[in-house]
Amino acid sequence: MKIKVLISFFLFIAAALVFISATNDDGYGPYAPTPLKFVIPTGWPKPPTDIFAKNKLTEEGFQLGKKLFYDPRLSSDKEISCASCHQPFAGFATFDHDLSHGVLNTFTTRNAPALMNLAWMTAYHWDGGINHIEVQPLSPLTAPNEMGSALDTVLLFLKADTSYKRLFKKAFGDANITSQRMLKALAQFTGSLITANSKYDRVMNGRDSFSRFEANGYKHFKVHCASCHKEPLFTDNSFRNNGRPINRFKDNGRMMITGLAGDSLKFKVPSLRNVQYSYPYMHDGSIFSVPQVVDHYMKVTAAQPKGLDSNLGSPIKLTPLQKNELSYFLYTLTDTSFTKSKRFGPDGPVFFKH
């Protein structure tokens, strides 16, 4: 008898709890996430790992990530956002800058890579030091010559902002703001930056055709360049020495991560998509135009400096006409639907510091 009373008492309490939780509202709006599908472009390989396996891609997560990406208030002087260095109109590189501006008139020591197709990578940065897209933002957020902040400072700022609380609730179910959620949201945005709608892609899908110039350039490309800049991503994501000399920062690239002397001056092979807009080029932005890049490859394959990658083992000899053809082919990799995308671009006007 006593037991029965006790059981019904507990049931009553449980029912009351359920009722309260169903009606209570924390004031940060509803939680009704819209799942997004990660679409692999036609003809592309599957990404080596699923970066969204433990980070469910949703419209709300993407939008939160986008807001974070364009928000200069995450930096110590409130002037530098991710987008200050990764500008949409430059294919998410820094337009016309060899090195980028960080907070308080500092400069980066490397060229800001054009962010694209990051879901196909397993190592980030020129030296591959970052092993997962989610932890990548920790580097720019805290580097004194980038956003110059600290993780706890960034979280304090976000927690004090009601609009962020709403967005975190929308994306993750409650208004709790944690480093993990912030990083996952950023990864939803950056991991979604796919560019796959250039003239080259249209030609490959049979919806367009190359000019004779471009078609010849494509042939030169396949002979001399495609072994490292592998189609359709235009990178094999490996680390290689393409003959750039050591620079004033004594930047040894991959060796700084592996500690192996054999990795000296190896850098991650960058994609060449949107290369028309992402100049200057290379890890230190030391080459300013595509024709000059081709000159570099011709010079370096003739000189064969020590350590040069074996894919560049024989001299590349191109006539001035062929050089132009190759450049014109590279410009077919421009995807303006990406660089001018409303979805990836800022929601309002932004000011970039130069």
Binding site: F10, A14, L17, V18, S21, A22, I51, K54, N55, H125, G129, I130, N131, H132, I133, E134, V135, L138, S139, T142, A143, L151, D152, L155, T178, S179, Q180, L183, K184, A187, M256, I257, G259
Partner: protein
């Protein structure tokens, strides 16, 4: 709606289970850190290592994971990752099942998979300052301080021992036999006091001289040397 209902029911069940738990046996750990045979005090106190180098410690943090109790016919495993901090001497409590146990194993460090699976939370939250931002991976053991022997700026010591990639993985499995068999019965409570002897960090299998290596900030050869001294630092002081 359904989700929150489910959550509530779960928490009710968890509550009932928790009530039961109080009749379970409990084993807790306390990690005591000593230097020169005295309990380590952060900041002000000065100690001397085996090379006659004086030093002060301002910060000492390390990860412990995959704690395993071995018994005659029982094993008890807890894969949780714990961030230990010399500035905080709380003990760690585990509910334990009954049995006779004779040794304790744990890892100093973090499983390699957790070093490369993206943003983590709790003990592994990068907010804890134990995650390298330029060369992803956790710092497994962090010792910071000052020494007149240090050749670094301001006489600093900064030892950030970590690395999960082969061949520079410095996660080390520590095995500690109990001085006597630990009998765990229903309702019993035990505290295992583990001693960490900092003297052995400097002078163990490897020699770590502050004058030569005040700064240790990357995975590699030096980190391996330091990690090779981990096993020697740990011992069981007592079981209560």
């Amino acid at each position: 709606m359904i989700r929150s209902l489910f959550k509530k029911i779960c928490s009710c069940i968890a509550f009932v289970l928790l009530c039961n738990l109080f009749s379970y046996a409990q084993v807790s750990f306390k990690f005591n850190i000593t230097a020169n045979g005295k309990p380590l005090l952060l900041n002000d106190s000065s100690y001397t290592n085996g090379f006659n180098e004086a030093y002060q410690v301002t910060r000492l943090k390390y990860y412990i994971s995959n704690i395993l109790f071995k018994g005659d016919d029982v094993m008890l495993f807890n894969e949780r990752v714990l961030l230990m901090d010399a500035g905080n001497t709380d003990s760690i409590v585990f509910p334990s099942s009954n049995g006779n146990y004779h040794s304790l194993d744990f890892t100093i460090g973090v499983d390699s998979a957790l070093n490369c699976s993206g943003a983590q939370d709790e003990a592994l939250d990068p907010l804890n300052g134990m995650f390298w931002t330029w060369n992803s991976g956790y710092i497994f053991f962090k010792l910071e301080g000052y020494s007149p022997a240090s050749k670094a700026d301001l006489g600093r010591i900064e030892h950030h021992v970590g690395g999960y990639r082969f061949p520079n993985n410095v996660a080390r499995r520590i095995t500690l036999p109990f001085p006597r068999k630990l009998e765990v019965k229903a309702g019993s409570k035990h505290t295992i006091i583990v001693n960490i002897d900092l003297d052995k960090y400097w002078k163990g299998i490897s020699d770590i001289k502050i004058a030569d290596q005040a700064l240790l900030m990357t995975p590699g050869r030096l980190a391996i040397k330091a990690a090779d001294n981990f096993q020697g630092m740990f011992s069981i002081k007592s079981i209560e």
